[in-house]
């Protein structure tokens, strides 16, 4: 199933058979589907996909056959009458719950920071998903921490999804096709993180003709080129983006600022080719880097590299298989000084993953998915290199290795006409292997033993069985009740003893000392559509329990510490809440309102005297209102308003003097709240005329033909009423009065932006 204009595979399109109500198929992530008809005859298929015109196709089924379908994208809706009467009721019939799906069209019109369309920022406008903080691209889902989200780009995990300390994400939306965020029980094919799975698919590239698009903005610019390799058989896409804040530094007065660098870039590339009727191969990759350097005294760069090779193969009519080999790497490097006086500190995590997945369309009521994968992890926590003059010997921190493997099976089943059920189980294993000198610790975190292990020798092994269950019961044609339960395991953990995530945060594996984290989540939801499916309403209630969550001893030293495992404490957590979403998906005016009421807390014997305390990311109320309005065919306006109550934070309850310095005195952990946060973003997009007037050579009359070169201007303002939202609150002595006062730092006031976008 493909887009008729570009040849892109359509994910999640639904094929219904009019003569067999209650059955049908959904295209998988490669646009593949399979339908079984019990008796030969002529059938009417209704084909739907959000953002595309519904189609009716008649097929004569007298033997097995292959059907290639193409769908036409919907035009812009200008008045209410144009809304089609076709039911777009996917949210009512699908058993998926706790899922947010982003279409690229939603992102196009939302104003974001510096005019960049950002997938991660848009996700944070949905219920249950909270931004990690101003200027921070991380996010929290249903009370989980920022490292509990599995972010996949074409199946490759992205360990640090933010540029420039979190102001931008690494995802260039021009290269993306589909984004799905699973907040609740993710399907059994996913595992390895407790709170969410963000599954991002890159575009394949226009298989019909050459397309070039791009944008030039105040802070960054991008360019995307896509074209067929062989028309309708293969295509590629290359997309790049770079910021150039440092070009302005060339005009700075200070010589050192002139020699400084500050930029990031992303490069996405993908190619695919159909080798025959049954086989298709894909190669995709991402490469991105942030570079910051001050003169030649200090340098800091970090980034991700991912590469995926995939091979789709059809085994007969109903069994679709895919084999993937995936490489993912995240590393950073810090450098001080230059030449022989320099010191460089580097850290890296690298994964090699081999996966095999099958979709078996057993019959019109059952789709079975199963598969297996094996990941080899390499952790390089700290490698230190010094120039010869440096004079100190600093030792590298030893590498760590582990193997994470899983098998899963899952079935999506339609029962009678009202039930849609997904059930499955995922078995996973995590084994820490040598080589290495493995430490053991006592309760105080002191090293008690060191044991040497050889290459590939197992040190510790953990096994987990994670069942997943989702139920959907259709109450009527426009309402449904859903329930789900899921268990998840997490074997790698992000060590970060700070309130803001930093590129120098280190991932560590489970080991003989660090057990895997486990969570169990149940949720129940009610979904209803109004006004002929123009308006969607949903509410979900969830409860999540977590075990072996990690926190740190008071004053823990986590930077470049070879015995960092001794600084960790283990406890339990719980999170619960209510999410409400009201969405208008079609019409001249579209948008949504989302509200989340929630609580997330932790309990550790050694912290807060063993009493439950609010997790840092606990925010009681969270509201997002998003609106997009097509004023005319050429002008679209959008507005976003966000409000949330502040994070839990530890403030002092007293102060005293020791060693000649004023020291804050703390009573309970996270007993206070940061100030409330709210912000309005506005934007307007002006499309240049899409047609031009020509004289028809035959009739001599004027007529309008479409222009090859399309362009638009986007103007946006972030934080339109310039509220100073707190990034941090410090208690300091006023130099003049000697009084202690609370000082708030805010990052942004109003930030305007202009971008010129083009496409041909």
């Amino acid at each position: 199933m493909k887009d008729v204009e570009t040849g892109e595979d359509l994910i999640g399109a639904r094929i219904l058979v009019d003569e067999m109500p209650g059955t049908g198929a959904i295209t998988n992530v490669y646009g593949f589907f399979s339908l079984t008809f019990k008796e030969p005859g002529t059938y009417n298929l209704t084909i739907k996909s959000i953002g595309f015109e519904t189609q009716n196709v008649e097929v004569v089924m007298d033997k097995s056959q292959t059907l290639d379908l193409e769908m036409k994208p919907e035009g812009k809706i200008l008045n209410a009458v144009q809304v089609t009467g076709e039911k777009q009721d996917e949210n009512i019939t699908s058993a998926e719950m706790g899922v947010d799906k982003i279409q690229m069209k939603d992102i196009d019109n939302i104003p974001v920071l510096f005019g960049e369309k950002d997938v991660l920022k848009t996700i944070q406008l949905l219920p249950g998903v909270k931004p990690a903080g101003e200027g921070n691209a991380g996010f929290f889902v249903r009370g989980g921490s920022a490292d509990q989200n599995l972010i996949l780009l074409d199946e490759a995990p992205v360990y640090n999804a933010s540029h420039l300390l979190g102001f931008f994400s690494v995802f260039n939306s021009d290269a993306l096709k589909d984004i799905k965020l699973y907040k609740g029980a993710a399907p059994a094919e996913f595992g390895g993180r407790l709170s969410s799975v963000m599954d991002i698919k890159m575009k394949e590239g226009n298989a019909k003709k050459l397309g070039v698009s791009g944008g030039i903005g105040l802070i960054s610019s991008k360019l995307t080129v896509e074209a067929p390799i062989v028309k309708d058989k293969g295509s590629f896409i290359v997309s790049g983006r770079r910021t150039y804040a440092d070009l302005f530094l060339a005009f700075a007065e200070q010589e050192q600022a002139q020699n400084s660098t500050l930029y990031f870039y992303d490069l996405n590339a993908k190619a695919n080719y159909r080798l025959g009727k049954k086989d298709r191969i894909f190669i995709s990759g991402y490469f991105g880097r942030d570079v910051f350097g001050f003169d030649d005294q200090f340098g800091f760069d970090w980034g991700n590299t991912t590469g995926t090779f995939r091979w789709n193969h059809l085994y007969g009519d109903r069994l679709f298989g895919n084999t993937s080999v995936i490489l993912s790497k995240y590393n950073y490097e810090l450098g001080f000084g230059a030449g022989e006086n320099r010191i460089q500190i580097g850290s890296e995590i690298q994964d090699i993953n081999v996966k095999k997945d099958f979709d078996f369309y057993i019959n019109s009521n059952n789709t079975l998915s199963f598969g297996a994968n094996v990941i080899h992890h390499t952790f390089r926590p700290g490698e230190i290199e010094t120039g010869d003059d440096f004079g100190i010997t600093l030792n590298d921190i030893e590498n760590r290795y582990s193997i994470e493997s899983a098998v899963y099976v899952s079935n999506e089943q339609k029962i009678k006409k009202r039930w849609n059920v997904i059930y499955g189980i995922r078995f996973s294993n995590f084994t820490q292997i040598g080589p290495g000198s493995i430490f053991s610790y006592n309760d105080l975190g002191e090293v008690t033993d060191t044991t040497e292990y050889g290459d590939w020798e197992p040190v510790a092994s953990y096994f987990g069985a994670a069942p997943r269950l989702s139920l959907n019961y259709k109450l009527s044609t426009n309402s449904a009740v859903k329930a789900s339960y899921g268990r998840s395991y997490q074997f790698v953990h992000l060590i970060s003893n700070t309130t803001a995530s930093q590129p120098t945060d280190v991932w560590i594996p489970s080991s003989n000392n660090v057990r895997p984290q486990v969570s169990d989540q149940v949720s129940v939801g009610y979904f209803q559509n109004f006004l002929d499916n123009q308006l969607e309403f949903s509410t979900e209630v969830y409860y999540k329990q977590m075990d072996n969550v990690i926190d740190y001893r008071d004053g823990a030293e986590v930077t470049l510490n070879p015995t960092v495992e001794g600084e960790l404490l283990y406890g339990i957590g719980r999170a619960y809440g209510v999410e409400i979403l009201l969405k208008k998906r079609r019409g001249q005016f579209t948008g949504w309102v989302s509200y989340t009421l929630s609580k997330t807390e932790r309990q550790f014997d050694e912290i807060n005297n063993g009493a439950w305390y609010a997790a840092r990311q606990d925010r009681t109320h969270d509201v997002s209102i998003v609106g997009m309005y097509n004023i005319t065919e050429r002008i679209t306006a959008s507005a976003t308003w966000v409000y949330f109550t502040g994070n839990a934070v530890t403030f002092p309850s007293g102060k005293y003097v020791v060693d000649g310095q004023v020291v804050p005195y703390y009573t309970e952990r996270n007993g206070y709240r940061m100030p409330d946060y709210h912000r309005l973003d506005l934007g307007v997009t002006l499309n240049n005329k899409k047609t031009k007037t020509v004289i028809d050579p035959e009739s001599g009359e004027e007529k309008e033909v479409p222009k090859r070169f399309e362009s638009s201007w986007n103007f946006s303002v972030y934080n339109a009423y310039a509220r100073q939202n707190a990034f941090s609150v410090d208690f300091r002595e006023n130099a003049e009065t000697g009084q202690t006062e609370a000082v708030q730092i805010a990052l942004f006031k109003a930030v305007p932006s202009i971008t010129f976008n083009f496409k041909f």
Partner: protein, 256 residues
Amino acid sequence: MLSCEKVIDVPLYEGDHRIIVEAVGRNFDGESYVLLSMSGAVYNQESGYDPVTGASVSVTDGDGLVSIFNEDPLNPGTYLNADFATLPNKTYDLSIAIDGEISLSAQSQTMNMPVLDSLNYIPLVGGGFGGGGTDTSYLVFYSFVDDPYQTNFYRIRPFVNGKGDDNFYLNNDRLSNGEQITAPIFGTDVEPGDTVLIELISMDEGAYDYLSTLSSALTSGAFSAAPANPVSNIEGDAIGYSGMYLIDTLSIIMPE
């Protein structure tokens, strides 16, 4: 358009006022002291913190020798002893009685005398952030050999032209027992002609844990560690620390 600071109103619930103990023993006669004070409210009006006066303070060593610390009449809350000096490989019991009701104590011990071997320096041209393009400054290194027979904890305290560096340079021998330890003093600018005095202070684990957690608690700002009170080694209803130190010093003068 970009970041800005402002003072905001943050109501705080005042915690109970706590007794603060700062007891420092040094191996030079008369340089040891015990400071007793009360903590104050975060937004208190006065600039000082109430001293605790009239307490009985004494230190008893492992041989039974008792040293009484008397309150300095010029500095209430400061307790001194003109003859007390720490000695290697001894245990010390600090005992404090306040108003006949509150009693506090702490146990500390000293190791072998530390020996500071040498000081070195390298010149930095254009030195570091904010330095001018051609100015010379110096990065000073200290070097000493850790005692292989004991578990050691150190603080290195630099004084540039007599002024102490407030940063905490802490070191221990967990992964470098018996080895030569060499490290730089990053925190203070050292200019040509400056006199740099380095104190190598040997202490026990209790004092070391307090100072390293104190150092974390003092780091303020958006990227700080999760705030927590320093880990005190005082027994009784007080916070603070008792550190019995052995100190070796070396001085070096930078070229002009």
